[in-house]
């Protein structure tokens, strides 16, 4: 559904490249700062991963008020996408900062490349039979989980 999702990180993995600007803060009504507030309170890797769905409820409330179209699934799809993009941006900046501090860089690149392949396979599986919501949820949750992992590696407790 969203071939753009993994592009920012994929471009970064291939070497210096452009960062996808993301959809955060746009007309979706999703507030990416809510994720930062949740992360600031979280003290463990697990608690950070549990921040995955932060900001969804207010995004959905907003979308349901604003959206006048016929597609009942639109608010969820749009908010999940915005939430996923916010995590994607967070992961990309974490990854880039770690890469800048790594020497050699190859073990970290290899880890992140293998994670992208895993997420693709896992979420393709979740989205089989055309279940796009399950697929989008998988992409968002796994991206948040990987961001939580990189955060704990960047600042071990």
């Amino acid at each position: 559904m969203r071939p753009l999702a993994g592009l920012a990180l994929a471009a970064l993995l291939a070497g210096p490249g452009l960062v996808h600007p993301g959809l955060a803060g746009d007309a979706s009504g999703f507030d990416p700062a809510a994720i930062d507030r949740c992360l600031a309170r979280a003290e463990t890797q697990g608690a950070r991963a549990d921040c995955a769905g932060t900001g969804m409820q207010s995004c959905l409330d907003y979308a349901r008020r604003q959206y006048t179209g016929e597609d009942a699934g639109f608010p969820m799809a749009n908010c999940l996408d915005a939430s996923h993009q916010a995590w994607e941006a967070k992961l990309t900046s974490l990854y880039r900062a770690m890469l800048d501090r790594s020497d050699p860089q190859e073990p970290l690149r290899r880890m992140e490349r293998s994670w992208i392949a895993f997420r693709q396979a896992l979420c393709d599986r979740a989205g089989e039979r055309g279940d796009e919501t399950a697929r989008a949820l998988c992409l968002r949750d796994e991206t948040a989980r990987q961001a939580a992992l990189l955060m704990s590696l960047a600042a071990p407790q």
Binding site: T44, Q45, G46, A49, D50, P107, L108, R110, M111, R113, S114, W115, A117, F118, Q120, A121, L122, D124, R125, E128, R129, R145, L149, S152, L153, P156, Q157
Partner: protein, 170 residues
Amino acid sequence: MRLLVLSLMLATGPALAQSGPTYDAKGLATCLADAGTGADAGPARHACIGRAAAQCMASPGGDTTAGMVECLDHEARDWDRLLNDRYRQVLQAAKAADAGLAGLGSAAAPAAPALQEAQRTWITFRDASCRYESLRFQGGTAGGPAAGDCVLRLTAEQALRLDAMAEGLE
């Protein structure tokens, strides 16, 4: 070592005079049972990750490098058993569904190969991840526990993914 933080919050078991640390073989199963199941149980189930190992590390003999490695390895093996059990269950169901659809002449993409691919790529990810983590501690005695901690966490997370898929079958 982030697991040590957890250990401070947990009561230690009875202090027995022995050389190796004490691992509660029922610790993980009890934690998962208490966490419950269903869509909202995810955080509570994930919170079980590292708990039995932390308890073990807080027992006499669990605070040495060898003791920590032993505790982490114990819990990693518990998660690995859960992972294998759920993987078999989900794969079996996928194969049955594929056979049913093939019988109907369906052109839908088969489910079993998708699951196998997800598991295969997970193994590559686990290996690359834990190699990276252990390299960060290269030369130090923390390298052993760090690698063990990594294997434990990633195995546990994958076990819980498969566990949720298996729950969806019921």
